[in-house]
């Protein structure tokens, strides 16, 4: 199981090389991994149905209670199947869509990382690992949205998506930690959610708000919805994947996952219900105003996310059944529609619906598939989308409170969605053939197989609703509702209120479709929507942030080394000194010290070197005397039997001298620039630090608060770590995680220094 989750990352590492060596067929062959994963997850379906939720446990950092534990239940399995199943077709599709693109290898590398991260989110049982994977999806989707990095727009929108979702992610982290505290300190979802009194937790309201801040930003709920349509800057395969089964669904997943534990309260109902319903309406309304193929679909995704959030908020049996059915239906038709939109764009050269027409003869397969998928989007029988929409109406009607509000918004949205589904499926294909930038023809097999299979599934699932109901939806409903519910999915429910509402929505929707040109004309005059949307708020916020950063940089990072040093030294002296004098007691205990002659000689040399270095007027002299200080310290290390430190010190000293010599020629001749007063000030600062450190060491020598850890480490070193050199054993074994952090810092520092040197050189060249 662990390998199944991480295999995407492993393949990602080899994907660039594989893509290059496999050539044209790369997409088909790479798709074997998600296809294999799909088959593997399928084998879990009977296990989950018969034995219930399974937890697979791998220790990761047991000291911090973080483990790679995997939770396989109906909900995670439904998501895992969608991710791997749709992922398979997306990988194949990308091979055709980005055929011959020079960055295709890079694309596959990021895509597989993204897929693996997404699988990690939905399968994690530990909330810390869940959060890590959650953030990984944000980062990898940033790289995917900004794939066309040479375009300014793509970079801007990628950053927008990243900042919105990662900003929410910060809140989520706090919320998840509170969740762990509320659940009695365990980080395992299965244990937290089994806890009955999560809702009585003292900070319940704060916790829910923080968690929802994370899920609402991720799942593009109003008012954070603006990043999602902008994420269309990504290549179409990415959009199709992001919108249908992954990324934005992560937020929905988490809300569904936590529903049995923290859902069901008034706060939950109103927050999810109202924001979800508003998002649903906003999405449909904005879809109606759009003319781009992908824009229409992006806004209908927002509609779907709003619907799901609303349904989870309502939280009745009906609502949860509706939510899981809707989730499956949406994933199928949305992936299919997005891939078709990409095919249209790819083969005609435009994605503006108003510029397309009459393609039914030239692209017949695309036409038929689009019709089927759009019927599911519009929620017409006999498609799976119809079942989902009927259930949704029923759930809205039976909501415990404000049912009317939900129902009205749901019907209004449905009307607009019917219109846009018709626009999408018919406008590009009927009427007279219009002139397009490219000569249109049917897309290649790699770009059609995905939409055709997924659209067919929409049709099959609609006709034999009991099949997906029993295998996929029912186990998922059980995990979200918290208890098993007996139900069937079928097309015909008899003549009832939901059916009447559907008929009404379809009739009005078709009317809207018929008058769409007039509607567009009205909307094109309503430019205030763009002027005052939440996106403006985001831009204002970003401007403010840049201003604040510039202001505090001018204040703190003023570029004067001496100011930095004085600030650091004085802060250290003040804080440490204060603590020392307050806590050490009076008179301050000072340890005994005895010297041997050679120690005094070396110490004297070091002090002399330091004094000469600070008063000399020769630069080379300063370098040489600083070297004397360094080598003196190295000698002291050797005296106190730390040969490792001594050797390292000597190496560092040598390299420092080399680096200094390299830059020495660039410096102007030695000048005395500071006034005597400021030199005196510097001397006081320097001596105060030296004095403090001396006192500190003497005091530390005198008191022994606890037994030093070093004895224990020495005792463990050989039997536990097979090493006699304790320093090295600590570095590479006992404290390896610290060292890992440190070498990352070393690497980053090298990049930073390199960038500074290069920028200077380039400035000069100009």
């Amino acid at each position: 199981m662990l390998i199944a989750v991480l295999s995407g990352f492993i393949l990602a590492a080899f994907a660039p090389w594989l893509t290059r060596s496999l050539g044209d067929k790369a997409g088909w062959i790479l798709a074997l991994l998600p296809a294999g994963l799909f088959a593997y997850f399928l084998t879990w379906v009977p296990v989950v149905i018969t034995d219930g939720a399974q937890v697979v446990h791998y220790p990761w950092i047991p000291g911090l209670d973080i483990s790679l534990s995997i939770l396989v239940d109906g909900l995670s399995l439904l998501f895992a199947l969608l991710i791997s199943g749709i992922g398979t077709f997306i990988i194949i599709y990308a091979g055709g869509y980005l055929h011959g693109h020079e960055d295709l290898p890079r694309f596959y590398a990021i895509m597989f990382s993204f897929m693996a991260a997404m699988l990690g989110v939905v399968l994690s049982n530990n909330i810390i690992t869940l959060f890590v994977f959650w953030e990984l999806t944000s980062i990898t989707s940033y790289l995917l949205i900004g794939f066309h990095h040479e375009q300014k727009d793509a970079r801007w929108f990628a950053l927008q998506g990243l900042l919105v979702t990662v900003g929410g992610g910060l809140a989520l982290l706090a919320g998840l930690i509170m969740l762990a505290l509320a659940g009695g300190g365990s980080f395992e979802l299965s244990e937290i959610l089994a806890n009955e009194d999560l809702r009585e937790y003292g900070f319940y309201t704060g916790m829910v708000i923080l968690i929802l801040a994370g899920t609402f930003t991720k799942s593009a709920q109003v008012p954070f919805h603006f990043w999602l349509p902008n994420a269309m800057a990504a290549p179409t395969p990415v959009s199709a994947f992001l919108h249908s089964a992954t990324m934005v669904k992560a937020g929905v997943y988490l809300m569904a996952r936590l529903n049995p534990g923290i859902g069901g309260t008034e706060l939950w109902l109103y927050a999810l219900g109202i924001f979800g319903a508003l998002t649903m309406f906003t999405g449909s309304f904005m879809a109606l105003r759009s003319t781009g193929l992908k824009a229409v679909l992006a806004y209908t995704t927002i509609m779907a996310l709003g619907t799901l959030t609303m349904l989870i908020g309502i939280g009745t049996e009906q609502a949860i059944i509706a939510a899981m059915t809707f989730l499956l239906a949406h994933a199928l038709y949305k992936a299919s529609l997005f891939m078709l939109a990409g095919a249209l764009d790819h083969e005609t050269g435009t994605k503006d619906i108003t510029k397309l027409g009459g393609l039914r003869r030239l692209m017949p397969i695309t036409f038929v598939t689009a019709c089927i998928a759009a019927l599911s989007l519009a929620g017409l029988p006999p498609l799976f989308g119809f079942i989902a929409k009927e259930l949704m109406f029923e759930a809205a009607l039976q909501a415990p409170t404000i049912g009317l509000f939900f129902t009205v918004l749901a019907v209004l949205s449905a009307i607009m969605i019917v219109a846009m589904a018709a626009v999408f499926a018919l406008r590009p294909f009927i009427g007279d053939l219009k002139e397009t930038p490219k000569k249109p023809h049917e897309a290649p097999l790699s770009m059609l197989i995905g939409p055709v299979v997924l659209a067919s599934l929409s049709l099959i699932f609609g006709l034999v609703g009991f099949l997906p109901a029993a295998a996929l939806v029912a186990p998922a409903v059980e995990s979200v509702y918290g208890a098993p519910i007996d139900f069937d999915l079928y097309l015909w429910h008899g003549i009832n209120l939901p059916l009447m509402l559907s008929v009404l929505a379809v009739a009005l929707g078709l009317l809207l479709f018929w008058k769409w040109n007039a509607v567009l004309a009205v909307f094109s005059r309503m430019t205030f929507i763009d002027r005052f949307g939440p996106e403006r708020g985001y831009e204002k916020l970003m401007d403010g942030l840049v201003w604040l950063a510039a202001w505090q940089t001018r204040l703190l990072q003023n570029g004067y080394m001496r100011n930095y040093l004085i600030t650091i030294v004085l802060t250290t002296v003040a804080l440490t000194g204060w603590t020392l004098f307050v806590h050490a007691g009076s008179p301050m205990p000072l340890g005994d010290i005895s010297f041997s002659l050679h120690e005094i000689v070396v110490a004297g040399l070091v002090v002399m070197g330091a004094i000469v270095a600070s008063v000399t007027s020769s630069r080379l002299g300063a370098v040489a005397t600083l070297g004397m200080v360094g080598f003196g310290i190295a000698l002291i290390y050797v005296f106190f039997s730390a040969p490792d430190l001594g050797t390292t010190q000597i190496m560092v000293e040598t390299l420092t001298v080399i680096l200094l010599v390299l830059v020495l020629f660039r410096l102007p001749s030695f000048q005395k620039l500071s006034s005597t007063a400021s030199r005196m000030r510097d001397a006081v600062v320097a001596v105060s630090l030296g004095g403090l450190m001396t006192l500190l060491i003497l005091a530390v020598n005198a008191v022994e608060v606890t037994e030093p850890i070093s004895d224990q480490l020495v005792a463990w070193s050989y039997p536990e770590a097979h090493g006699r050199n304790i320093v090295n054993v600590i570095l590479v074994d006992f404290r390896a995680l610290d060292t890992l952090g440190e070498i990352f810092v070393v690497g980053l520092a090298a990049i930073g220094v390199y960038a500074m040197i290069r920028l200077r050189a380039e400035d000069k060249a100009k």
Partner: protein, 142 residues
């Protein structure tokens, strides 16, 4: 930089670089039991290359590194991270040391282990980072 390289320095550097590199590998491998380790070894190797750089120039030193310094940093970080992840696949916590002692004729027992992989990673990061900076400075000089 060329002006600085005397004949003596060049001749010495040519002999000292391989010796220092060999020494650095020695320091790296003995690190677990005797004074040494990846950090020091990386610095020793960097000093060797720096000496060569002084004797010759950046253009002639760079190819000797086999790979670009930034690639070396990346490879080192990867090696160190992988050494931490490997035990997870064996069902042990992150960064648990794994040991594979091998009996080598003539050498006695050689201990292959994930800490050794980790130390090699540290070695590469240190060498790569220092070389990146020194080469950039030297190139800016030229």
């Amino acid at each position: 930089m060329n002006s600085m390289g005397s004949l003596i320095l060049r001749t010495t550097a040519r002999f000292l670089l391989p010796l220092l590199l060999l020494f650095s590998v020695f320091v790296l491998l003995r690190g677990h039991d005797e004074p040494g380790g990846g950090f020091i070894a990386g610095l020793v190797a960097a000093v060797g290359f720096a000496l060569y750089l002084f004797a010759f120039d950046a253009a002639r030193t760079k190819p000797l590194l086999v790979m670009e310094p930034q690639v070396m940093v990346g490879a080192g970080l990867l090696a160190a991270t992988v050494s931490g992840i490997l035990p997870v696949f064996a069902g042990l916590p992150f960064f648990t040391a794994l040991w594979w002692p091998v009996e080598m004729p003539g050498f006695g027992e050689v201990k292959f282990s994930t800490p050794l992989i980790f130390d090699i990673g540290v070695y590469m990061v240190v060498l790569g980072s220092v070389m990146k900076i020194i080469l950039a400075l030297a190139e800016a000089e030229e």
